[in-house]
Symmetry: C2
Subunit: 324 residues, 2 copies
DNA sequence: AGTCGTTACGATGCCCGTAAGGATA
DNA sequence: TATCCTTACGGGCATCGTAACGACT
C-alpha cells in the first residue's frame, strides 16, 4: 500500500468515480491512476469500487470503510507537514477560515486587523458559505477553522467552541408603521412580511421553535445570506428586517428605525469549529484567542479531545460569554 | 513522504535509536534506513532525531509530535488491511489477547472453547503479562484486546469495557490457626503474613486503600503473578493466601481452608480493553459477547467513540454486571 | 463519433544492497 | 579495535507517460 494509492482513490471518489477527471486533478496520466487502483485492489484482495462494465459507479461496502481510513491517514499526513512547517517557518503560513457573511463583514475585520499586526506574514483566506457549505468545508479539512452559529452540532468529528452570544434586531424604514414602536410582541411581528437570513427559519432552528411554540407562523417573504442585501430590501419596503444586532452600523441608525427584539428570541451562540485530530499551529491558537479571549490553547486542546456535547458543556460552564 | 519512511522512524524509536538494530528488525540494510530517514528529514525541512556526533540519541520536539502522527497513520494502514481480510476471509484470522494469569487460567478457557467451536479457523494467541505489560501491549497495538482488572483507566487512547465483578478469598492450609474461622476482620488479617498477587498492594490500589483507611498495614511477604504459585507457597506455610475467588477450584477445597472476604474488600471489575480507533473484526465482537453477554457490537461501538470516563459510566449504568 | 477505461511498452528514476570510509568509545 | 553511521556506486524494479485498443453511450 502506498500513500499515493490512497490519494488516488480519494480523488476518484471526489470526482464522482471518473478516473480521467481524477487523473487531471492529480496532474498525472489516467492509465497510471487506473493501474494504481488495480494494484491496490489486488494487494488487498478485494474490490474497492463498484463497476458497471468498465466504468466505476461507486464504492463497495469494503471500499467505503477503507476510504474512511484512507481519509484519516491523509489528514494525518497533512498534519505531519503542518508540524514541520510550524518548526521551519513559524511566522509563515496560511489561515483558512470559512464563515458566514455576517461574521466576515461585521465581527472578523477588527480581529483580523489585530492578528495581522502580530503575524504579518500569515496569509488569511476567508471563504463565505451557507451553513451547509461551511460544515462540508471544515469536515473535508479544506479550511482550518469555521466560524458559525449552528448546524455543526451534528457531527462527531467537529468540535464547537462557543465564542459569544448575540441578539437580533428588527429594522424598518423610518416611514414604516412600526417606526414609532419601541417594543414588539411576537404576535405583532407575525403580522408583517419578514426579510431575514437564509436558513434562519429552517425546521428546528431557534426562530422556528420560538414561533411555533406560540402557535404563530412567520411570514418570510425574502431571505438572503447577507445582512446588507436584507437592508437594501427593507429600505425598498419589502418587509421588516430581522437581522443580527451586530450587523447594524451607526450609519444604519440614520436610515432605519431599530427595534431590539432580544426579549423575543433566545440569543444564538457563535462558535469556532475545528475538525478533530487536526494539528493547530501556534498562530491559529493566537487567532482564536483574539476572537474569543476565553479560548486559550489549554481549553481548546481539552475540548478537542472530548467526544460528547455533555462534556463540552461542562468544560465551558465556567465561562460567561460576551453578548454582542 | 512514504509509509515506509514512517515505518522506519517508528522502528528506530522502538530500538532505542539504534539504526542498525532497526534495519535488522525491518529485514533491510542499515544504509537504506539511514538514507530514508535523511530523505524524510530533508523533505520536512527539519531534524526528527537528536544526534550526538553521528549517533542518534533521541527525538527532537518536532520529531516527537511527528512520531505520534506516524504511529496513528500506521495503525490506520493496518486497519485497512484488517478490513480487507474481513472481506476476503471472514472466518480466518488471529485473535491476540493479552491478559493476566488468573484470566487465562480460570476465566478464559470455557469462553475460548465456545469461541473455537464457532470459529475453528481463528488462531487464538494468549499473552500473559503484568498490568504494565498488558497496558503497553494494547497501546502499541500488539494485541487486539486486553482483559485486565485495573491500571488502564489512565490512558485516553484505550477504552475499558466492564465485564464482571469479582471477589477475593483467603486460603490457608487446613492446619493453620485460621482453619476453623469462617469470617475474618481486616485487623485479624493484618496480623498474618500475606501471599498475594503482584501489584495487588501498589499505592492507590483498592486493597491498599482499604487497609490504609482503617489505619492498618498489611504484611505482604510474597507476591506472584500467578494464583497457582501463591497456592504452592501457602501450602508450604509461607502465609495466608489472598486470591481471586474464581481462582479457587474444587480440588483446592480439599487442600485449603477457604474464607470468603468479599465483605472486607470492595469487588474489583474485570474489563476488556481496546485501543481506540481500531477496526474490530466480526469474530472479535463475537468473542467479546461470549466473554460478557451485555457487550454487544452496538454497545462496544458506542463506547469506543466516547472520550471520558463519565460518559462511559453513563453508558454502562443500565447494566448489572455478573459477580464471580 | 466521442468518452472513458484497459493494456502494452519503453524510459526514467527511485530504492535496495554491497562495499568502503570516518567518527567515537 | 569494535561499533555505528555516512557516503558512494551499481543493479533491479516500480512507476510514469505515450500510444494503441476495446467498450459503452
Amino acid at each position: 500500500m502506498k500513500l499515493q494509492q490512497l490519494k488516488y482513490i480519494i480523488e476518484i471518489e471526489k470526482h464522482h468515480f471518473n478516473i480521467s477527471l481524477a487523473a487531471d486533478a492529480l496532474f498525472t496520466s489516467q492509465p497510471g491512476v487506473s493501474k494504481q487502483i488495480k494494484l491496490l485492489e489486488d494487494e488487498l484482495g478485494c474490490l474497492l469500487f463498484l463497476r458497471s462494465g468498465r466504468k466505476l459507479t461507486g464504492l463497495t461496502e469494503t471500499g467505503f470503510k477503507i476510504m474512511c481510513y484512507a481519509k484519516k491517514i491523509l489528514a494525518d499526513v497533512s498534519n505531519i507537514y503542518t508540524i514541520s512547517e510550524e518548526y521551519t517557518s513559524p511566522e509563515k503560513g496560511q489561515l483558512n477560515i470559512v464563515t458566514s457573511h455576517t461574521q466576515s463583514q461585521y465581527s472578523l475585520p477588527c480581529v483580523i486587523k489585530r492578528f495581522n499586526a502580530k503575524y504579518p506574514k500569515i496569509s488569511i483566506n476567508i471563504h463565505q458559505g451557507t451553513p451547509l457549505q461551511i460544515s462540508n468545508t471544515i469536515r473535508k479539512g479544506e479550511a482550518d477553522l469555521a466560524i458559525a452559529t449552528e448546524a455543526l452540532h451534528l457531527y462527531k468529528d467537529v468540535v464547537m467552541l462557543p465564542c459569544y452570544h448575540w441578539h437580533r434586531s428588527i429594522i424598518v424604514p423610518k416611514t414604516h408603521t412600526l417606526a414609532t414602536t419601541k417594543t414588539l410582541t411576537l404576535h405583532q411581528l407575525s403580522l408583517y412580511p419578514i426579510v431575514t437570513y437564509q436558513f434562519a427559519f429552517t425546521e428546528g432552528s431557534p426562530l422556528d421553535i420560538t414561533f411555533s411554540l406560540s402557535g404563530l407562523t412567520p411570514n418570510v417573504v425574502f431571505t438572503a445570506t447577507d445582512a446588507d442585501v436584507i437592508k437594501t430590501y427593507v429600505k425598498q419596503g419589502a418587509g421588516v428586517g430581522l437581522i443580527a444586532s451586530m450587523a447594524i452600523t451607526k450609519k444604519d441608525a440614520d436610515s432605519f428605525h431599530i427595534i431590539d427584539v432580544s426579549t423575543l428570541f433566545k440569543p444564538s451562540t457563535t462558535c469556532i469549529c475545528i475538525k478533530k485530530g487536526t494539528f493547530l499551529r501556534l498562530y491559529m491558537y493566537e487567532f482564536i484567542v483574539l476572537f474569543a479571549p476565553h479560548l486559550t490553547r489549554d481549553i481548546i486542546e481539552k475540548a478537542m479531545h472530548l467526544s460528547d456535547e455533555h462534556s463540552l458543556d461542562k468544560l465551558f460552564s465556567c465561562f460567561t460569554l460576551e453578548v454582542k
